[in-house]
C-alpha cells in the first residue's frame, strides 16, 4: 500500500506541542500583576481561533463574536484560576467551548425543530469538485451540525483548530483514548453524511 494513504505521515502530528513551554505564560503573569494592556496582546493572539471555534459550534457570526468576547472577558475575570498547568490557549478553548455549548442548549430549547442549517441547495445536484469553495465550507458546516456534539467538538478542535490529542484531552478533560476514538468515529460519520457528494467526484 502506498504511503500517501497515511494522513499523519504527510502532516506532522502536533502531539508534542503540549510539552513545549506556553508562549503565553509571560503575558499571563503580567496580566495577573494588573497590566490590562498586556491582555490585549493575548486577545490579538487568540481571537481568530476562538472566533472560528465558536462559529463552528454555533454557525452564526454574530453569536460567534459574542461568545469569543465573552470568553476573553471571563478569562480576564478568572485569570487567578488559571494555574498554568495547561496552556493558556487550552484554557481559553475550554471556556469558549463551554460558552458555546451553553448557548447551543438555549437555542435548542427555543427552536423545536432545531437550529441546524439547511442542506445547501447545491448538495446532491452537483459534485463537490464543482462547488465553489464557499459552498463546500457550508456543506462541511452542515455535516458537522448533524453530528453528535461529542464527535463534533473533537473534529472541530482537531481539524479546524489544529490542536493535538493532548490539548483536546486537556480542554475536554477526557482520556486520550476517548479523544482518539471520538475523532475517528465522528470522522466516519462525517464521511457517511458527505458520501452523496463525495461519490460524485470523478
Amino acid at each position: 500500500m502506498p504511503p500517501e494513504y497515511c494522513h499523519r505521515d504527510k502532516n506532522a502530528p502536533p502531539i508534542a506541542e503540549s510539552a513545549q513551554p506556553d508562549p503565553d505564560h509571560a503575558l499571563v503573569v503580567r496580566c495577573k500583576a494588573g497590566n490590562r494592556e498586556v491582555f490585549g496582546q493575548l486577545v490579538l493572539r487568540h481571537k481568530d481561533r476562538l472566533y472560528t471555534l465558536a462559529l463552528r459550534f454555533l454557525g452564526d457570526h454574530g453569536e460567534a463574536e459574542d461568545v469569543a468576547q465573552e470568553t476573553f472577558l471571563r478569562a480576564y475575570e478568572k485569570l487567578e484560576e488559571f494555574r498554568g498547568e495547561a496552556k493558556f490557549s487550552t484554557w481559553l478553548y475550554q471556556i469558549c467551548r463551554n460558552l458555546s455549548l451553553n448557548r447551543l442548549e438555549k437555542k435548542k430549547e427555543k427552536l423545536s425543530e432545531g437550529f441546524l442549517p439547511e442542506i445547501p441547495a447545491a448538495a446532491g445536484t452537483e459534485p463537490p469538485v464543482q462547488l465553489l469553495q464557499k459552498e463546500r465550507h457550508k456543506l462541511v458546516d452542515w455535516a458537522l451540525a448533524q453530528l453528535k456534539h461529542e464527535f463534533r467538538e473533537v473534529i472541530i478542535l482537531y481539524h479546524k483548530e489544529a490542536l493535538s490529542y493532548e490539548e483536546i484531552a486537556d480542554i475536554l478533560e477526557l482520556p486520550l483514548g476517548t479523544i482518539r476514538s471520538r475523532l475517528h468515529r465522528g470522522r466516519s460519520e462525517l464521511r457517511d453524511l458527505l458520501r452523496p457528494y463525495l461519490e460524485k467526484i470523478p
Binding site: 500500500m1 494513504y5 497515511c6 494522513h7 499523519r8 505521515d9 505564560h25 509571560a26 503573569v29 503580567r30 496580566c31 495577573k32 500583576a33 494588573g34 497590566n35 490590562r36 498586556v38 491582555f39 490585549g40 486577545v43 490579538l44 481571537k47 481568530d48 481561533r49 476562538l50 472566533y51 472560528t52 462559529l55 460567534a64 463574536e65 469569543a68 468576547q69 476573553f72 472577558l73 480576564y76 475575570e77 485569570l79 463537490p128 469553495q133 463546500r136 465550507h137 456543506l139 462541511v140 473534529i155 481539524h159 479546524k160 482518539r180 475523532l183 475517528h184 468515529r185 470522522r187 466516519s188 462525517l190 464521511r191 458527505l194 458520501r195 463525495l198 461519490e199 467526484i201
Partner: protein, 333 residues
Amino acid sequence: MAESRHPTSLLSLYYEGELPLADRQVVTEHLADCPLCRHELSLLRQTVEILDEAPLERAPHDFLDKFTRRLEQDERFRLLEAQRQQTAKEQARVSPDMQDVGVPAISRPTSPVFPRLTQGLYQFWQTLCFPLRLKLPLYTAVGVAVVAAFLFRSFPEGRSANRDKTLTKTQTSTESPRQDLASIDIPAPQPPQTPTSSAQHVSNVPPPPVPKPSPAQLPGKQEILLPSPPVAALEGAPPVAEPIVWRVEGEQPEVMQAQAKVLAQRISGVLIVQEEDGLLLLSLPTEQLPAFGQAVRELGQVQTMGAETDPAKPTTTIQIRFLFALDSASLSS
C-alpha cells in the same frame, strides 16, 4: 461478517497512521485486494481534505476595540485591575526576587511632568517604609528614643526655668543692697589651703548671673546689683552669714582691684571666692582682717558696710567693691 471482511472502522486510524504494526499490515493487505475499502478510504481522505480546507475564520477587525471598551466601561474590571496591582506590589515586597522570574515591573505612580522625581520619591518611600518586618521595630525604637530624649530634656529645662523665674523675681524685688548681697552663695568656712588648690577650686565655681546696671540707675557711680536668694531660702532656711562689705572709691577702680587682689594673695589662707569687674569676694582668716583692711585703705577711700566682724569665726568673708570717685580732686585734697 462484512465488518470482519471490510475493516471500515479501522480506516480512519489507518489513515492517521495510528494502527499497530500488525493491524496495519492486515489492513494494507486487505486494501490491496478490496476496491470497496479503497473507495471508503478515498472518501475519508476527501472528507479530511474538505475539513482541513476550511480556513481559519477572521474575527471582526474591531474585535479588540470592542473588548477593550467593555473592559473599561465595567467598573468591576477596573477594580479587579487595581486589586491585582495591589497584590503584585505586596508580593514584590514579600519576595523581591519575583522580579527575576518574569514578574513585570509594578505599575508605579508616575507624573507626566516629573517622572524621575516621582520615581525617586516612590523608591525613597519604599526604602523608608518597607519591608515592615524590619522597619516597624526600628521605628518603634526610634520613637521610644525620641520620647525618652524629650523627657530627659524637660527636667533640666524645668530646673532652668525655675531658676530663671527666681532670678526674675529677685530682680524685681530687690530694694536694698543688703538683700542683694545676702543672695551670694558663700561657701562654708574652709581651712587654709594652698594658693594652687584655691585657684583650682575657684575656677570650678560657676559665677552667678549678674545683670549689668543700666546707665539710668548709675548717674554718678557704678552699682552692681546682685541677685537675692530664693524666697524659700529667705523665709525658711537658716540665715546665711552676711559678708562684710568694703566700698573702696578711687580714681582707678581697676588698678585698686588688682592691687587689692595682690595684697590678698600675700595673706596665707586667703580664698578668692569670686572676682568680677569692680567686685572681689574673699574669704580670709579673721586675725588677718585688720592688717588687710589697713592695706586696702591705702589704696583708696574705704567705707565699711554690712555685717560686723565676728572674732569667734576662724574665717571672715569680705566683699570689696571698687568704685570710681567723681570728686577725685576733693578726695586727694
